[in-house]
C-alpha cells in the first residue's frame, strides 16, 4: 500500500495534475478506497468543476469518484441531485456557484458522485475548516484543470502530483516538464525568525539585510521595477517577493548580479519558464520559499487522451531516476 501511511500524517491533501487527464481521479479513487479500509473519516471536495462522467475537453470517458459510507463531501446542488450514493445533507452554503449553492453531505450508502467546488482558495480554506468541525480526519481536495493554487501549503498541508502521457508523449519532454515543477516544490525553506516576519507581508518586493532587517523596496508591482531598478540590491542580495514571481522579475535580477537569493511565498507563486530559470541559476542565483510543500508522491498516467500509451515501467523508472523520488503508475497502483 504505497504512500497511504504518509498521507495519514496530514490533515489535508491536494491532488494536482500537471495537465488534464493525468489520472488525478484514478489516484483519488485509489486513496479513498484504501482509507475506507482503514476506517479513516474523510472529507472530499474539489476546486472548480470535476468528476464529470465525460471529460469536457477531450470527450473521453472519465472514471467517477466513489465515496464510501461515513465520508463527508462538498459539491454543487446540481451535481448533488444526480448523485448515485445515498447521502444526507448537513449544510448548504449561502454562496452560490453557476451550479447552485455548494452543499455538504454525509454518505449513507456508497456510490458515485460528481464533485464540483469553490472557485477560490479562500472558500476552499473555509470548507476545510468546516470538515474539521465535522470531525473529519483528512480533507482531500481534487484539483481542476491548471489549478495549482490549491496545493499551496497555506491551503493544504500535503500534495500529490499527477503527471503522464497527457503532458507529453515524449518521455524526455515529460521528464523535463515534470522536473521543472518538481524543483520548485522542493525549494529550500527560509528559517525562523525571518520566516515569521515575512509571512505577514502581503504585497511588494522587500530586501533583507545582513542583520536580518527587512526593508520595503517601495515596489508594489513588478511592472514598476524599472523605475527603482538601480537600487534594488542596496540592502543586500536577499529579496522577498510577496506576490507572484515572473520571468520578468528573474530576468531583471539575472541582469543585476550574482548570488541573489529570491524568496517566494511558496511554489504556487512561481511562474517561470525553464529557459529563464536556467539563466537565473547559472549565475549563482537561487530561489527559496517561506513554506515548502510536502509532496507525498508523484503518480503517472501512461495513457494520453489521444490514446497514446507509454511503457509504464520504463517511464516510471526514468522519472524516478531523474527526480530521485518514487513514481507510481496510477493504473497499477492497486496491484
Amino acid at each position: 500500500m504505497p504512500f497511504i501511511a504518509n498521507i495519514l500524517k496530514h490533515k489535508s491533501l491536494s491532488i494536482v495534475g500537471l495537465e488534464k487527464n493525468t489520472g488525478k481521479t484514478v489516484c483519488l479513487n485509489y486513496i479513498l478506497n484504501r482509507l475506507n479500509q482503514l476506517g479513516t473519516h474523510v472529507g472530499v471536495t474539489s476546486i472548480g468543476v470535476d468528476g464529470e462522467q465525460v471529460d469536457s475537453v477531450f470527450a473521453t470517458a472519465k472514471p467517477e469518484i466513489t465515496l464510501f459510507r461515513g465520508t463527508h463531501f462538498i459539491t454543487s446542488e446540481k451535481h448533488y441531485l444526480i448523485r448515485q450514493a445515498v447521502s444526507k445533507l448537513v449544510a448548504v452554503d449561502s454562496q452560490r456557484t453557476s451550479l447552485g449553492p455548494l452543499v455538504t453531505a454525509e454518505v449513507l450508502i456508497q456510490g458515485k458522485v460528481l464533485l464540483s467546488g469553490a472557485a477560490t482558495t479562500a472558500v476552499l480554506k473555509r470548507q476545510i475548516q468546516s470538515f474539521d468541525r465535522l470531525g473529519v480526519d483528512l480533507s482531500i481536495v481534487d484539483g481542476a484543470l491548471s489549478r495549482l493554487s490549491l496545493a499551496s501549503p497555506t491551503v493544504t498541508e500535503a500534495m500529490i502530483l499527477a503527471t503522464g502521457a497527457a503532458v507529453s508523449a515524449n518521455v524526455k519532454q515529460l521528464i523535463s516538464k515534470t522536473r521543472h515543477l518538481y524543483q520548485f516544490i522542493c525549494l529550500d525553506e527560509v528559517e525562523e525568525p525571518l520566516r515569521s516576519t515575512l509571512s505577514n507581508i502581503e504585497t511588494g518586493l522587500w530586501a533583507i539585510d545582513s542583520d536580518g532587517q527587512v526593508h520595503d523596496l517601495g515596489i508594489t508591482s513588478v511592472f514598476l521595477i524599472d523605475r527603482a531598478e538601480n537600487d534594488i540590491l542596496r540592502f543586500g542580495h536577499t529579496l522577498f517577493a510577496a506576490g507572484a514571481i515572473s520571468d520578468r522579475l528573474l530576468k531583471i535580477l539575472s541582469a543585476k548580479g550574482k548570488d541573489i537569493i529570491l524568496i517566494a511565498r511558496d511554489f504556487t507563486k512561481i511562474f517561470v519558464t525553464p529557459e529563464v530559470y536556467t539563466e537565473y541559476t547559472r549565475r549563482g542565483n537561487r530561489l527559496m520559499v517561506l513554506q515548502r510543500s510536502k509532496l507525498i508522491a508523484i503518480t503517472l498516467n501512461p495513457t494520453s487522451p489521444q490514446g497514446f500509451l507509454l511503457d509504464s515501467k520504463s517511464t516510471c523508472d526514468a522519472l524516478s531516476d531523474a527526480l530521485q523520488t518514487p513514481v507510481y503508475d496510477v493504473k497499477k497502483i492497486d496491484q
Binding site: E77, V86, L89, P101, L108, I109, Q110, G111
Partner: protein, 461 residues
C-alpha cells in the same frame, strides 16, 4: 421611497447603511427595502423596538443569548425562490427541503435566544414546529435532511439491497435499476412533501422576513451604541443639539483631529446659510439630510438631542455632479436637479437642501436664479436650507452664518495644516444681507500664489 433609493442621494446616507453590521444577505435585502415613513405611530414603534434592542445588546448578563441570536441570523439564507416554488406547488428538491428545515431549526434557536434577551414582544417569530416535524419524520431534532426511509415503505428494503450490492461489488445492471427506482420514489416523496408544506408558505415567508428584520434591528442597535446616536422626538420644527456627521467625525478622531458638532433649528420656510470657505456648510447640509433619512427610516440620529419635523421627502442638491459621460456640465446637471426639486416641492412637504446653487455660472444670472429659487420655495410648505456666497439677494428669509475664521482661537502658528483649528463651525442668526468676504484671506493662509492674491486685492480696492 425605500432605503435602496435613498442611498443614491448625495447627502451620504450610503455610508450609514454600508456601516451597518448586518449578518445575512436576507437581512441586507430587508433593510434596503425599508420604507422612508412619515407616520409618527410607525416611527415611534420602530424607535421603541430599537430602544429594546439596544437594551438587549448592552445586557452583559445575557451575552450568550445575544451571541446565539447573531449566529442564527448569520446562517440565514435567502429562500425567496424556494417560497415561490412552494406557493406554485412546483415540487421542491432535497436541497430546498433541507433549506426549509434549516430555517425552522434556526428560527427555533433564535426564538430561544430572543426569549433569553426578553425581546419576545419586540421580535415575535412564527411557530414553525409543524413544518420542522414534517421534515423530521425520525424525530432526530437536528437539521440534517434526506429522503428518509420512513417517508415510503418501499425505501428501506430497496436501500438494504442497494447497500449489499454496492459493498460487495454486485451486478451493475441491478444497481442501476435500483437507483432508478429509488430516484422515482424520492420524486414522489418530494411531490407529497411539497403539497403538505404548501399551506405553511405564509408562515415560512413571515419567519424569514422576521428574522431578516431582527438582523437589521440588531445592526441598527449596534450602530446606535457605537456611534452614540440618540432617539429623536417628533415636533413642529427640527432642532438638533450638536448634530454630527458620523463619517467625518470618525475620520477626524482617527487622525486625532478636533470635531466640532453644531446646533441648528430648522423652521418652515427658507433659511440661507452663509459663511467663509472651509466653514463646513456642505458638511452641515449632508449631516442634516442624513439625520432626517435615518430618523424616518427608523434609526436613531447623530446628535446629542434631536427633535424632528417629519416630512414627506428629502430633496438635495449637494456636490458636483458633473458628468461628461452624459454630456452634462456641472451647471446643467445641477440646474436640472434643482428644477426637479422645485417641481416636487409644489406637490408635497419636503426637507430641501441645496448647496451653493448656480455657483458655476456667471454671477449676474446666477444671483437671479438663486433669488427665483428662494421665491418659489417660500411659496410652498418646505423646510429649506440653502448655502450661498451671493450677497444682496434682497430676500427677507432667515439667515444663519457660520461664525467661521477666528484668528485668536488657538495659541499655535496659523499654517495651511492648522487652519481647520481656527474655524468656529457654530451658527449664529444674521440680520444683514451681506456675506463674509474671506476668500483672499484664506488663500493667503493656505500660502497660495502671492502675486495672484496681491492682484486680486488691488482689483477689489
Amino acid at each position: 421611497m425605500r432605503i435602496k433609493e435613498l442611498i443614491k442621494n448625495d447627502a451620504g446616507f450610503l455610508f450609514i447603511i454600508d456601516s451597518l453590521d448586518i449578518q445575512s444577505a436576507a437581512g441586507r435585502r430587508h433593510m434596503l427595502n425599508t420604507e422612508f415613513s412619515n407616520d409618527p405611530t410607525v416611527l415611534e414603534t420602530e424607535w421603541s423596538r430599537l430602544a429594546e434592542a439596544i437594551r438587549a445588546t448592552n445586557d452583559i448578563d445575557n451575552r450568550r443569548y445575544y451571541i446565539d441570536l447573531r449566529h442564527c441570523l448569520m446562517c440565514l439564507h435567502d429562500l425567496s425562490g424556494t417560497f415561490t416554488s412552494l406557493a406554485n406547488r412546483t415540487p421542491l428538491n432535497e436541497v430546498e427541503l433541507f433549506e426549509i428545515k434549516n430555517l425552522c431549526y434556526m428560527s427555533k434557536a433564535a426564538a430561544t435566544a430572543i426569549q433569553g434577551l426578553s425581546l419576545t414582544s419586540t421580535l415575535p417569530l412564527p411557530d414553525c414546529s409543524a413544518v420542522f416535524n414534517l421534515l423530521d419524520p425520525d424525530h432526530t431534532g437536528i437539521a440534517n435532511f434526506y429522503i428518509y426511509d420512513s417517508y415510503d415503505i418501499r425505501l428501506a428494503p430497496l436501500r438494504r439491497e442497494l447497500n449489499a450490492l454496492q459493498t460487495s461489488g454486485g451486478d451493475p445492471m441491478r444497481i442501476s435499476n435500483l437507483l432508478a427506482e429509488q430516484s422515482e420514489i424520492q420524486n414522489e416523496v418530494c411531490l407529497r412533501l411539497t403539497d403538505q408544506l404548501h399551506p405553511y408558505v405564509d408562515t415560512l415567508v413571515n419567519t424569514l422576513s422576521q428574522m431578516a428584520y431582527a438582523d437589521g434591528l440588531l445592526a441598527r442597535a449596534k450602530q446606535a451604541i457605537e456611534w452614540e446616536l440618540v432617539r429623536p422626538a417628533i415636533g413642529d420644527v427640527t432642532r438638533y443639539t450638536h448634530i454630527f456627521n458620523p463619517r467625518l467625525k470618525q475620520r477626524n478622531l482617527s487622525q486625532k483631529m478636533r470635531y466640532q458638532p453644531v446646533s441648528i433649528e430648522i423652521r418652515p420656510g427658507v433659511c440661507l446659510i452663509t459663511g467663509a470657505n472651509m466653514a463646513g456648510k456642505t458638511v452641515l447640509l449632508k449631516s442634516v439630510g442624513t439625520a432626517q433619512m435615518m430618523a424616518q427610516c427608523g434609526m436613531y440620529v447623530p446628535a446629542e438631542e434631536a427633535v424632528i419635523h417629519l416630512v414627506e421627502g428629502v430633496a438635495t442638491s449637494i456636490g458636483d455632479d458633473q458628468d461628461e459621460m452624459n454630456g452634462l456640465s456641472s451647471y446643467a446637471s445641477e440646474i436640472i436637479k434643482i428644477s426637479n426639486i422645485l417641481a416636487d416641492c409644489r406637490q408635497r412637504e419636503l426637507l430641501v437642501l441645496i448647496d451653493e446653487p448656480a455657483r458655476t455660472t456667471n454671477p449676474v444670472e446666477g444671483k437671479a436664479l438663486v433669488q427665483a429659487i428662494i421665491k418659489i420655495l417660500e411659496q410652498h410648505p418646505s423646510f429649506t436650507l440653502i448655502t450661498t456666497h451671493y450677497d444682496q439677494l434682497g430676500s427677507n428669509c432667515r439667515r444663519l452664518r457660520v461664525k467661521g475664521f477666528v484668528e485668536d482661537m488657538e495659541n499655535i502658528p496659523l499654517t495651511p495644516q492648522s487652519i481647520n483649528r481656527f474655524i468656529d463651525y457654530s451658527l449664529t442668526e444674521d440680520q444683514s444681507d451681506n456675506v463674509p468676504h474671506e476668500a483672499l484671506r484664506i488663500a493667503s493662509i493656505l500660502q497660495c500664489d502671492p502675486e495672484m492674491i496681491a492682484l486680486a486685492s488691488a482689483q477689489i480696492q
